[in-house]
């Protein structure tokens, strides 16, 4: 910008208030109020278009206490009662990560009390007899892979325990684009085409992702504006993950080619629709150890835990 140019903050595209956010993909400026309205409208639209909620549902909302799940719970607690006769219960999984989880769980407890939402907390220690820290100290595992498998199992068990009809998670647009890229980089076609939202009729509890059209920056701003979470620590294991590298790459692609993340997801959804016409769903079996629906003789969680007990 040339020297001497006048300072400015662009106005919101919907009113005269100063913008706080610029969406380069959609070329629009939004003020605090319209950013929050936009987030709530997109969540409502996603819930409606993808038929994520029905009257009578009992929705288990995975609440880690971080910004995504906290914003998800906050938005759902407002929009669900306006449109559906459905119940919301927050579920928190305490993996046992010292110096990190204590603070986010306290934030989760405060939020559920503030919103008046029932809160169910389960822990790796009570479910699996160990914390994530102990597990990783004793075994050379990839932290995010092991944690992801066990957390998924813990959330499913907790959802069954409270008779939930679906599990809502705080996965956002950036998470979704990164997952597609990671599956391509791994050459994991099966996972790329897996659609957990359509498997409830085969014994799985339906998983819904109401924030999947909202990006991480919008969620952070929504959380700051509404005072939902303060500055929370990041998981100490997050930087070791493959996702951390893909995230940097995806953010760079999105910056240089605005809208690329949305197009990556739309491409994957089109691929998924085409695949459904030609690929038959795999058979579902039940875990010989815990009885959960799975695709092999034992589920991933039981496979992981029994392998550790054998010293694998």
């Amino acid at each position: 910008m040339p020297a001497g140019k006048k300072e400015c903050i662009p106005p919101c595209d919907n009113c005269d208030e100063p913008a706080i956010f610029f969406d380069p993909g959609l070329q629009r400026h939004l003020c605090e109020r319209h950013l929050c309205l936009g987030v709530e409208q997109r969540v409502t639209s996603a819930l409606t278009r993808h038929k994520m909620v029905s009257d009578g549902d009992r929705i288990a909302v995975g609440l880690s206490g971080g910004k995504d799940s906290s914003v998800l719970l906050s938005v759902l607690s407002h929009v669900i009662p306006e449109h559906w006769d459905a119940e919301i219960i927050a579920v928190t999984v305490d993996e046992g990560i010292a110096g990190y989880r204590e603070e986010t769980i306290q934030s989760a407890v405060s939020l559920t009390q503030q919103l008046g939402i029932p809160h169910h907390i389960v822990s790796f220690q009570s479910l699996f007899g160990t914390t994530l820290d102990s597990l990783l100290n004793a075994h050379p595992l990839r932290a995010c892979t092991a944690c992801g498998i066990l957390r998924k199992k813990a959330l499913s068990d907790a959802a069954r325990e409270i008779a939930a009809t679906s599990i809502a998670t705080g996965h956002n647009l950036d998470d979704a684009a990164q997952s597609v890229l990671m599956n391509y980089f791994r050459g994991d076609f099966e996972r790329l085409l897996r659609d957990s939202s359509s498997r409830e009729d085969r014994g799985f509890i339906r998983r819904i992702k109401p924030l999947h059209e909202v990006n991480e920056k919008e969620i952070t701003l929504y959380s700051m504006i509404k005072g939902i979470t303060g500055l929370l620590p990041e998981c100490p294991y997050a930087t070791t993950a493959f996702r951390a590298e893909v995230r940097t790459l995806q953010a760079a692609i999105e910056y240089h080619y605005p809208g690329a993340s949305r197009r990556i997801i739309e491409g994957q959804e089109s691929l998924n629709e085409q695949a459904k016409k030609t690929i038959r769903p795999g058979t579902v079996s039940y875990c010989a150890s815990c009885g959960d629906p799975c695709s092999g003789p034992v589920c991933q969680a039981c496979g992981l835990l029994s392998g550790l007990n054998k010293g694998d």
Partner: protein, 64 residues
């Protein structure tokens, strides 16, 4: 301008009016990965900052 980076580092930057995006990319920061305030108020990446401003950059925390 007094610029506070996510790691707490403070830089004094002189010179002309510039956009937030130009300032951030000059520090090798992707504007999509941060939130910026100018004199305590949230601003978009195409807003401008200048000599007397106090600018803070917050990292968008991942996960959760």
């Amino acid at each position: 301008m007094r610029l506070q980076l996510p790691d707490g580092t403070i830089r004094e930057i002189g010179g002309e009016v510039r956009t937030v995006a130009a300032m951030l990319t000059g520090c090798n920061i992707n504007p999509l990965e941060v939130i910026v305030t100018k004199n305590g108020r949230l601003i978009p990446e195409d807003a401008t900052v200048s000599e007397n401003d106090e600018v803070r950059v917050f990292l968008v925390a991942h996960g959760g």
